[in-house]
């Protein structure tokens, strides 16, 4: 049995989208090193419910780092201190007994707070709806080598396709830009024969929608890549810019 840890949590509490939020500090004496960060929040919520207080709202689903539902800023870093890890896969063994952890929601005008740590990320859905898909039914998986795609291209497309749409890139960006998210989808589809025919229409529509949603402009800080749980490279942003230029020039 691992020893229990006493963790202090300074958590952003906000009752609704239009109410004033504030930080509340809670002590969780029953934390242990095997817990994930979200399990720590679960334990805190058990405590709060027993004491008759509203539990802290936070988004989560698979808790395996693959769905993109969870996401909070932990001590100033989106998803916390461990690289390429969504906060559901961050474990308390990275912390010491007595530590204080600051927990905040993603902060961006385009991601309005719904309650506590939950933000509305439907702006991402609208960017995808603007063109982040292939219009025709591309069918089920092809027979191997039926549709030749160079290995390096297939690998790169897969790297970009790994985006889970969690929004950490926006949260960490000093400008609250959604460039990495948008670029990952554009680059992924532009690289493959199924996505290629619509690439020009897609990049134009998605970039326009990104601006429409009120995200900031990219300043090439590359902070997004550093916090991305899938480690998506800002080379996708360079690709998006090339795609955009090609679309404008044709």
């Amino acid at each position: 049995m691992a020893e229990n840890m006493n963790i202090k949590l300074k958590v952003w509490r906000q009752a609704g989208p239009h109410t004033q939020g504030r930080f509340e500090t809670y002590s969780v004496p029953d934390a242990n090193p095997h817990m994930s960060f979200l399990e720590l929040l679960d334990v805190l919520n058990e405590q709060l419910i027993k004491s008759g207080t509203d539990p802290v709202e936070f988004d989560h689903d698979c808790r395996e780092g693959i769905c993109g539902s969870c996401g909070v800023v932990v001590d100033g870093v989106a998803h916390g201190p461990q690289r390429r890890t969504a906060c559901c896969q961050l474990h308390m063994r990275h912390y010491q007994d007595g530590d204080t952890i600051v927990v905040e929601p993603w902060r961006a005008e385009a991601f309005p707070i719904i309650k506590d740590l939950v933000v509305d990320r439907s702006a991402f859905d609208r960017i995808i709806a603007a063109g982040g898909y292939v219009s025709i039914n591309a069918g089920s998986a092809q027979d191997a080598n039926n549709l030749p795609i160079a290995k390096d291209k297939a690998d790169l497309a897969m790297d970009y396709a790994a985006c889970i749409g969690c929004g950490a890139c926006v949260a960490a960006c000093p400008n609250a830009s959604a460039s990495l998210f948008t670029a990952a989808k554009i680059s992924h589809l532009a690289m493959l024969p199924q996505g290629s025919p619509e690439r020009k229409k897609r990049v134009t529509a998605m970039v326009d929608q990104m601006a429409e949603e009120g995200f900031g402009d990219c300043s090439n800080h590359a902070e997004c890549e550093a916090v991305c749980p899938k480690g998506i490279s800002i080379s996708s942003i360079a690709t998006m810019r090339r795609e955009y230029m090609k679309a404008m020039l044709s």
């Binding site: 830009s177 402009d217 490279s233």
Partner: protein, 232 residues
């Protein structure tokens, strides 16, 4: 395929900032190498400046281009900064960089501040040198010399006078250090904005950006310090 307004789009703004930025890097590099002519003597320097002014109409075209580059660069930079404030009206209580591969640095965060200081410096600089004594609309017989029997502006004299002042010399040095800080992020960032980057090149280009920035800064700083400390 047309966007609503390509040059006003998030990508268009970065393209304009990047292209004008790289153009201005070329300009400051040429300007810096031109300045170094003073190390070989007043006459060489005056000959060089006379060559530039004797370009006549071409010089006006170059100057108009430079003004346009500066204006587009500045206006886009300010708009990107304003957009950032609008995109995140409520900031974080605690915020820090996650570290490598992030390129976030004091340089990348201070682009708006270093940029605005450089813009103010630019105005003062043009007034005190180009339009200074002996310059256009400010004829002064004390700042005329002859080279090969031809009367030319003695800009070298003005440069030496201005850099005799500690205020001007160290102010200039400080602003040139800010230029290095601006270029540290700027050169790399411009190439990324133009889609010219790939991950394998990032460390190399980031280093080259810094080296070019330091070379330009060092070239600019060498002259005023050499004059102030009576080395040339």
């Amino acid at each position: 395929m047309s966007s609503k307004n390509p040059l006003r789009s998030p990508i268009g703004k970065k393209l304009v900032t990047g292209v004008t930025g790289l153009g201005l890097v070329v300009f400051v590099f040429i300007h810096m190498t031109g300045n170094l002519a003073l190390f070989t003597g007043n006459e060489a320097y005056n000959q060089y400046t006379h060559f530039l002014t004797s370009l006549g109409g071409l010089l006006y075209v170059i100057e108009a281009g430079l003004v346009a580059f500066f204006l587009f660069h500045i206006v886009n930079g300010i708009q990107i900064w304003l957009g950032k404030r609008k995109a995140r009206p409520v900031g974080y209580d605690t915020y820090k960089s996650a570290g490598s591969p992030s390129q976030q640095s004091a340089s990348s965060r201070s682009m708006i501040i270093t940029g605005l200081i450089l813009a103010v410096f630019l105005v003062v600089h043009v007034i005190s040198f180009k339009f200074g004594p002996g310059g256009p609309g400010n004829a002064d017989p004390a700042y005329v010399t002859t080279i090969g029997g031809e009367e030319v502006r003695d800009l070298a004299k003005l440069v030496r006078e201005n850099f005799a002042s500690p205020f001007y010399t160290f102010g200039y040095t400080f602003v040139m250090l800010l230029l290095v800080v601006h270029l540290r992020h700027g050169i790399w960032s411009a190439l990324q904005s133009l889609g010219a980057m790939r991950p394998s090149l990032t460390p190399l280009v980031y280093t080259i950006g810094a080296v070019v920035g330091v070379l330009i800064g060092a070239g600019f700083i060498a002259l005023p310090l050499a004059i102030y400390f009576n080395l040339i």
